[in-house]
């Protein structure tokens, strides 16, 4: 069944009074008489696919979080016996893999972006709906494949989420668990590539009239840049995985050093074969560092949408935000080997300098977020609290990242808990930012509000828990505690800091339970949200909550990056980015808008 969608030819009026039709709205629902499981299996609706991504990725967050709780329980005492050494290797590998590959990215670019991008730009769906559905099925099967490792005799992969050669070769990591890990990443890799294609094509080709590139919501801008980064990075990883699999099973020596045995006409021959183990690190991190921004930029975009709404001001420095995002993305392809300083075979000044450069556009973003809040009428809703929590937590991760960009300091802290703490500051910021997005857009997606009190309770538990969880890690790293060690019987003085970190981790787990309770409360005692409960800015707030099939019954004319706000506030002064508009000065806008 296919819908051929047309835009209406009828003329509209001004931004306030034209409320013109968009799409053949009268009969959309008729095409989807199928319900239940069959509807889920056959859907190509970006909203259903986005919801599927959200639910699956949150489930992965819970699974990955459960692994984290086991790790922290093990480390609470110097001689923990919850798991043995081999199981500990599997636990931290699967914790990292599930969180990075199956939660953080898919939640953002598969879940919220899938749901929101077409609506934010006034489109009826993603550009390639069936490809979009295929992306989800590859992601789901990839997730199942990775977790299937637990059902194999040797257990799941155990070489860390980075899969370094030669730890990941057939000798050091035999068994199906490692192959399932590789296969899972191939599936999720293709899933991500297809999503990247869809994001870029949708944003380039399906914007509503008047929605110029520099009127797109910042979240859409960030997802466009993420889509491009996905297309740069993920094919490299997927190709690298194919070569890793070939090394393990087909006798190639791309990453491994050793003799190559082969037969010709029944005769066994061998020749010296010299692979380069560090090549895997080059390939992995050429994906891995853009991946950091593939993970982070969506959440930057989310809080950039939220902060202006709850500060009652337009975004301070819209174009600055856009160019900062582009700069971060461009620079991120030239910093991969800062993860490899201690290998001794990389160009230290080049990668150190490039890494330092990234802090400039990131600093611009922080300046603009603060500028947006400055002088605003701030409402401390749950979404806003999560957004501020994101800024603070990410700031800590960013600053410690600058420390690690310095080769001498990196040599000192490499493979210690300092790196673990830095990385977890960043990813906990993403979790907090993701929750901001959930609380902000949930009324749009479900038509219902979360309970604000429970949301604020969840925020404080999550925020304090994150600080208590990661803070001791920095100190442990400086004291010399290596990462990926299951016991530390020779250094019992590390116990108190580890106990503190474990308490923090369990606070985070409790915050997750509060979130689950909030979902149940929202489900069983619905508090209905209207189309625009926050008096927000983007086109997604112009349509019903939840939006209809193909998203819009009508659209306003688009005259700025805040079309819905413009429509609802026709007397407010227009935004002109090219002018030196005094209303853009922090503190002035409130009066101008009043």
């Amino acid at each position: 069944m296919v819908d051929v969608l047309e835009r209406p030819a009828a003329a509209g009026g001004d931004a306030h009074d034209d409320h013109v039709g968009h799409g053949d709205d009268g009969h959309h629902e008729e095409h989807h008489a199928v319900h239940g499981l069959l509807n889920w299996l056959t859907t190509t609706d970006h909203k259903v696919i986005g919801m599927s991504y959200l639910v699956t990725s949150v489930l992965m967050l819970v699974i990955g979080g459960a692994f984290a709780m086991m790790i922290r329980a093990q480390l609470a005492t110097p001689d923990g016996t919850l798991v043995n050494l081999a199981q500990y290797n599997q636990l931290f590998t699967m914790h990292g893999s599930v969180m990075i590959y199956l939660f953080a990215g898919p939640f953002a670019f598969g879940g919220l972006a899938n749901y929101l991008i077409p609506i934010q730009i006034g489109a009826p769906d993603m550009a390639f709906p069936r490809l979009n559905a295929l992306s989800y099925w590859l992601y789901l099967t990839g997730s199942i494949t990775m977790l299937l490792g637990f059902a194999t005799a040797g257990g799941p992969a155990n070489f860390g989420w980075v899969g370094y050669a030669p730890l990941s070769d057939a000798i050091n990591a035999p068994g199906a668990g490692a192959d399932l890990w590789i296969g899972a990443l191939m599936l999720t890799g293709f899933s991500a590539i297809f999503t990247g294609v869809n994001l870029v094509a949708t944003i380039f080709y399906l914007r509503a009239p008047g929605m110029t590139m520099f009127r797109m919501p910042i979240f859409t801008w960030n997802m466009l840049v993420v889509g491009i980064l996905i297309l740069i990075a993920f094919p490299v990883l997927t190709a690298g995985l194919v070569m890793l699999f070939a090394d393990r099973h087909f006798g190639t020596h791309i990453y491994t050093v050793g003799p190559n045995f082969y037969t010709i006409s029944g005769h066994l021959y061998h020749q010296a074969a010299g692979g380069v183990p560090v090549l895997w690190q080059h390939i992995f991190w050429f994906w891995g560092h853009p991946e950091v921004y593939i993970l982070a930029l969506p959440f930057f975009g989310m809080v950039t949408e939220i902060i202006p709404v709850f500060s009652r001001k337009p975004l301070f420095g819209y174009k600055g935000m856009v160019f900062a995002t582009m700069a971060i993305a461009a620079l991120s392809v030239g910093v991969w080997a800062h993860h490899m300083f201690t290998t001794g075979v990389v160009l230290l000044p080049f990668f150190s300098f490039m890494t330092y450069l990234i802090s400039i556009p990131t600093g611009i973003k922080f300046f603009n977020w603060i500028g947006t809040m400055w002088g605003g009428q701030i409402t401390y809703s749950a979404a806003m609290l999560f957004s501020i929590g994101f800024l603070l937590t990410f700031l800590i991760g960013g600053i410690t990242g600058i420390i690690l960009a310095s080769p001498p300091l990196d040599f000192f802290t490499h493979d210690t808990y300092f790196v673990v703490a830095h990385f977890h500051s960043v990813v906990m910021a993403l979790v907090i930012g993701g929750m901001a997005g959930m609380y902000f857009w949930c009324p749009k997606i479900t038509g219902r509000f979360f309970n604000e009190r429970l949301g604020k309770l969840q925020f404080w538990l999550l925020f304090i828990g994150s600080m208590v969880f990661v803070g001791p890690g920095y100190l442990l790293g400086l004291k010399g505690m290596p990462r990926r060690m299951a016991v530390y019987v020779l250094n019992p003085e590390w116990q108190h800091l580890n106990e503190l970190s474990t308490v923090g981790a369990y606070l985070i787990a409790i915050s997750t339970l509060v979130f689950v309770v909030n979902v149940i409360v929202m489900w069983r005692s619905p508090k209905i949200a209207g189309p625009n409960p926050w008096d927000a800015n983007g086109l997604e707030w112009f349509t019903t909550s939840p939006p209809p099939h193909h998203n819009f019954y009508s659209l306003p004319n688009i005259r700025s990056e805040r079309p819905t706000w413009d429509y609802n506030h026709p007397d407010a002064p227009a935004l002109h980015h090219d002018d030196h508009d005094p209303t853009h000065v922090p503190g002035n806008k409130v009066e101008a808008m009043a």
Binding site: V2, R7, D18, V34, L41, P209
Partner: protein, 131 residues
């Protein structure tokens, strides 16, 4: 399409400069090749969009003064529902299972992929007429 093409062209040019500096300075080819590939990934589609921008001019979505009805006409053809992405996904999954657990998984895997590709193509051909 002007902004779109410039975005990609600037990316290509920036990474191209980066590739030259990196290759000359480090002499390391693994990273150098990946940077050159990224440069081309920016330049090729960027030039493609620039070509189409020159041919098409501004679209309603590129025009600040455009009204919603300026985009009147067919937006696109969107499949209402389709089982084939699911079938193709399951076929791909079985192919990965074949890599791990044994080639016999490839038999149903290839069958599903072929059926899905044929079904999806046929659906596309007849779909527009059903509306």
């Amino acid at each position: 399409m002007k902004v779109e093409s410039r975005l990609l062209l600037w990316l290509g040019v920036f990474v191209g400069i980066l590739a030259i500096v990196y290759l000359i300075w480090s002499g390391e080819y693994g990273g150098g090749v990946m940077l050159v590939g990224t440069c081309l990934l920016g330049l090729f589609p960027g030039l493609y969009y620039a070509f189409w921008h020159k041919r098409m001019g501004h679209r309603p979505e590129d025009t600040e003064e455009a009204m919603i009805p300026d985009g009147a006409g067919v937006v696109g053809t969107f499949p209402g529902s389709s089982i084939w992405p699911f079938v193709l996904g399951m076929g791909s999954w079985l192919m990965v299972m074949a890599l791990v657990f044994g080639t016999w998984f490839a038999v149903p895997g290839i069958a599903l992929i072929v059926v899905a590709l044929a079904g999806g193509t046929a659906e596309s051909r007849r779909g527009g007429e059903q509306h």
